[in-house]
């Protein structure tokens, strides 16, 4: 357990010192979302209607953008090898990395989403559901992303491969995440959608580290 926490702290410290990585992801999210009002024009009704979808798709892409740093750096400098030989099981190592990854990319996205929702004229009834749905959905993005990042490790053009692997798996989160906000705006119950997002997270929490660890082992041979 101490090794688990130590690893999270190590990754957080690294992310903090090389702050540009996390800032880049956040910057991409903000800029990409802000492009929509500029591109679509000041049609408030249209913006309100597409706001949940735009926010979620851009969050997906921003999360995708940050996945390559999950294992690639550690793989290149030999740290991953040394980590794999630590007494900590590889599955827990992946889970620790996912936790740190979410804290440095997913959480900032969740926190800044309401601000961007304002830029997109999201109906005020949708704010809280948006934050709730993203808080439940973004950890799943980190976890699923870890499997893709582990599979793509060492491959040529890993970035492209990674998006092809991971984006299809992100679709369920996207559907229920957007639906939760849409329903809230329409005055309908959002509970079932949040429960589905919670179920995805509950399934990904044990399965993704297990799958990613299985993908890492051959890469370390």
């Amino acid at each position: 357990m101490t090794a688990f926490l130590l690893l999270i702290r190590h990754d957080l410290r690294l992310a903090l010192r090389q702050g540009s990585d996390a800032a880049l992801v956040l910057g991409f999210f903000v800029l990409a979302v802000v492009l929509f009002p500029l591109g679509v024009g000041p049609d408030f009704e249209l913006l309100t209607r597409i706001a949940p979808g735009v926010l979620w798709v851009m969050a997906l892409l921003a999360a995708l953008l940050s996945l390559d740093r999950l294992f690639q750096q550690d793989y290149d400098d030999g740290s991953l090898e040394a980590l794999a030989l630590a007494p900590l099981p590889l599955e827990l190592l992946v889970l620790a990395k996912c936790c740190a990854h979410w804290l440095t990319t997913g959480l900032p996205l969740v926190l800044i989403a309401p601000l961007l929702a304002a830029a997109l004229h999201l109906d005020s009834a949708g704010y809280l559901p948006l934050v709730g749905a993203m808080a439940l959905g973004t950890p799943t993005l980190s976890l699923i992303g870890a499997v893709g990042a582990a599979l793509a490790l060492g491959a040529r053009r890993a970035g492209v491969l990674l998006s092809l692997l991971v984006l299809p798996l992100y679709i369920p989160v996207l559907i229920f995440g957007v639906a939760a906000v849409d329903q809230a705006v329409a005055g309908l119950a959002i509970r079932p959608h949040l429960l589905m997002l919670g179920a995805f997270l509950a399934a990904a929490l044990p399965l993704a580290p297990w799958g990613a660890a299985a993908a890492l082992r051959p890469a370390l041979e």
């Binding site: 130590l6 690294l14 400098d77 041979e221």
Partner: protein
């Protein structure tokens, strides 16, 4: 009907601590070595010799459990290691080609991390810094280290947390003479305390009473 096992002393006076039996390794389609055997008693040292590509690094990776062996077995105190890899990982230090250092972390932070991960105390990490003459660099970010200093920091992991089996891949690369003799001294202390060392190297490592394992003898296509 099971017979009680023969007492060990009746078989051999000093049972091997760590032994390998008929190891073979394949990378891609190529068989790198086969039939590797050795036995080390407590305090033993084994030097892997051979030209580039003869499988020294591959053997070390097999011994660390990173690469699975095609066949054969590894034994620790007579027990099959394949039955408990986590216990084996916990008792070994593997120093590979790469120095797993992060440019933005300081020397002290880096060593404290690797040490803490393997259950080493902060005191042990501080002592290891001293032992490898890195104490004055403790607050320097790793990106400012020279190649030799990076290597020394990598090697400092050996003493920053306890492990009885040291697997060293070309440990002296980049080290100056003084650091090399420091390394030998550290290895000597480790062996006196009953630790094991297995090192792959091109240079002559002056390790007293070390066994030597010529890797080209295990190349496929030669009849052993």
């Amino acid at each position: 009907m099971r017979f009680p096992p023969l007492s060990r002393t009746s078989v051999t006076s000093s049972p091997p601590r760590f032994s390998a039996h008929d190891l073979a390794c394949q990378r891609g389609d190529r068989l790198i070595f086969r039939g590797v055997e050795f036995a080390l008693a407590a305090g033993g040292a084994l030097i892997l010799r051979g030209p580039n590509g003869s499988g020294k690094s591959s053997l070390l990776r097999v011994l660390a459990g990173l690469t699975p062996s095609l066949r054969g077995a590894l034994r620790w105190d007579g027990g099959d290691i394949a039955e408990d890899w986590p216990a084996h990982r916990a008792r070994l230090h593997f120093i590979g080609h790469l120095d797993p250092l992060k440019a933005v972390l300081t020397v002290a932070e880096m060593l404290a991390f690797w040490s803490g991960l393997r259950g080493g105390s902060p005191q042990a990490a501080a002592k290891a810094l001293d032992r490898f003459h890195l104490a004055e660099l403790a607050d320097l970010p790793c990106r400012f280290l020279s190649a030799g200093q990076r290597r020394r920091l990598s090697l400092a992991r050996l003493t920053a947390s306890p492990a009885s089996l040291w697997l060293l891949d070309e440990p002296t690369v980049g080290l100056d003479e003084a650091s090399t003799s420091d390394l030998f001294a550290v290895i000597g202390e480790h062996r006196t305390a009953g630790g094991l060392v297995i090192a792959a190297t091109h240079v002559t490592l002056a390790l007293e009473g070390a066994q030597s394992l010529p890797m080209d003898a295990f190349a496929p296509g030669r009849t052993a």
